[in-house]
């Protein structure tokens, strides 16, 4: 039965958008926790922690996200775990986001001037106190802009999970296209929905970066 593209179609797409937002949220939380641990391990850990993390980051950053998604989807099911597309999508997106967030935050930690580390040392702070009170608060302020910027990439890249059949916004678009045969309307609406979510984030990220640059210029 061929439907016409109308109000019901938009509601259907909106449901997909909610799944996109949900997956992006899971990815950001899980990838954020792991990414933070990896970033700390990569900057402060001993060589036996630093090197495996570096290899992990390098390999994931050199593999297409689509391949990571396929590996999670087929790989885990062959290992005897049957995972629904949502689980495979969340796992692969987390693997991807961890590698990037760890690298972004490593850069932010290293961007805290050397003098701050030395000052903390000479004040007699212990290693964890130095991190807690001196380095991380400053690294955090540097990190907000790039992190918000990376959230845009997470939201956009959840679209790749459509290809393993996870019904998020893009997959909802292809399904709707099969029902309506109006690809131009369908995918324009899909693109517009992504834009409505991503553009404010991009804009905010730019503002945060500008503000930081203005601050560092004033100091």
């Amino acid at each position: 039965m061929i439907q016409d593209f109308g109000w019901g179609s938009l509601q259907f797409l909106f449901l997909g958008l909610l799944w996109t937002a949900g997956l992006a949220f899971i990815t950001f939380i899980a990838g954020g926790i792991l990414g933070m641990l990896f970033a700390l391990g990569r900057t402060l850990g001993p060589a036996c922690i630093r090197i495996p993390i570096k290899i992990y980051i390098e390999l994931i950053q050199a593999t297409p996200l689509l391949i990571v998604v396929f590996l999670a989807y087929y790989g885990l099911s062959f290992l005897g775990l049957y995972l629904p597309p949502l689980a495979a999508a969340a796992i692969s997106m987390t693997v991807y986001a961890t590698a990037f967030l760890a690298d972004i935050w490593r850069g932010c930690i290293e961007a805290v001037p050397k003098g701050q580390w030395e000052a903390a040392d000479s004040l007699g702070l212990s290693g964890s106190e130095r991190l807690r009170y001196v380095i991380l608060p400053q690294a955090l302020r540097i990190a907000v802009g790039p992190t918000v910027g990376f959230m845009v990439q997470i939201v956009k890249n959840t679209s790749v999970t459509a290809l393993i059949g996870f019904v998020e916004l893009t997959r909802a678009g292809t399904l709707l296209n099969n029902m309506t045969f109006q690809p131009f309307h369908v995918f324009m609406s899909v693109a517009a929905m992504y834009f409505i979510v991503c553009y404010p984030l991009s804009w905010w990220s730019e503002k945060l970066k500008e503000r930081r640059h203005a601050n560092s210029a004033a100091n």
């Binding site: 050199a62 593999t63 391949i67 990571v68 290992l79 790039p146 990376f150 956009k156 290809l163």
Partner: protein, 238 residues
């Protein structure tokens, strides 16, 4: 139930995989050439604040950077025929990937142009350099050096992004893999082989960027940084 890996059926199809890899490299190279030209043009329009054109350029950059490549592909491949423009899968792939890179590299080029202070150009001229020499040694090379990590990182993202074009069955490595996967039922093995091939291609491309950088800048070589490209921030990611 333990699963036994068997790579033989996948490796038996090596010629198809190699053809796929070549197609991926070809698709990436074409898109990179077209994309960088678009990016440079758009950056110059925005830098020189050309009226009207600059608004179109801003609209282009923002729409392409804030929507997924996969949706852009679907729109080009499935949507355009309804407006009377029919492209093959591979043509759609080149157009979409180029336009995507164009939007990202335009922002990177603009950052490079902004990085060169006007006084530095005046200083170059005052030292008796010709306009051409000033452009080359004072503007283009130093600006390129500033953006080199982001730019080459973005090119790597472009290369990896071509795998998504398999969704509209453009000929490239992931599609070749998908075909083998569906005929051998060795899904896990196929995608492990694909991952290894992509990693090899990416590292080769990165080595080329380092060599080109060495030749261009001769002294200190900035490292390709995929993260600098992702977050568009040179300072925190070197």
């Amino acid at each position: 139930m333990a699963y036994e890996m068997n790579f033989a059926p996948v490796l038996a199809r090596a010629p198809e995989l190699i053809d796929g890899a070549i197609a991926t490299i070809e698709l990436s190279a074409k898109s990179i050439c077209i994309g960088l030209i678009i990016g440079l043009g758009v950056a110059l329009i925005r830098f020189n604040r050309v009226p009207i054109l600059k608004n179109i350029a801003a609209f282009y950059v923002e729409t392409f950077r804030n929507t997924p490549l996969l949706v852009q592909l679907f729109l080009l491949f499935f949507g355009l025929p309804f407006l009377g423009v029919r492209l093959t899968a591979t043509e759609s792939a080149i157009v979409a990937v180029s336009l995507n890179l164009g939007a990202y590299s335009a922002e990177i080029f603009r950052a490079g142009l902004d990085a060169i202070p006007k006084t530095q150009i005046e200083a170059g001229l005052a030292l008796g350099l010709s306009r051409l020499q000033t452009m080359r040694y004072v503007v283009i090379l130093p600006a390129l050096k500033v953006i080199y990590p982001s730019l080459t990182g973005q090119l790597t993202l472009t290369l990896l992004g071509t795998s998504i074009t398999s969704a509209i069955s453009a000929t490239e490595l992931t599609l070749a893999g998908a075909k083998i996967e569906s005929q051998t039922f060795r899904s896990l093995e196929t995608y492990i082989v694909l991952a290894v091939m992509y990693i090899a291609i990416t590292f080769t491309f990165r080595a080329v960027y380092t060599l080109v950088g060495k030749w261009l800048f001769r002294r200190k070589v900035p490292k390709a940084s995929i993260v600098a490209a992702t977050i568009m921030d040179e300072e925190t990611s070197q």
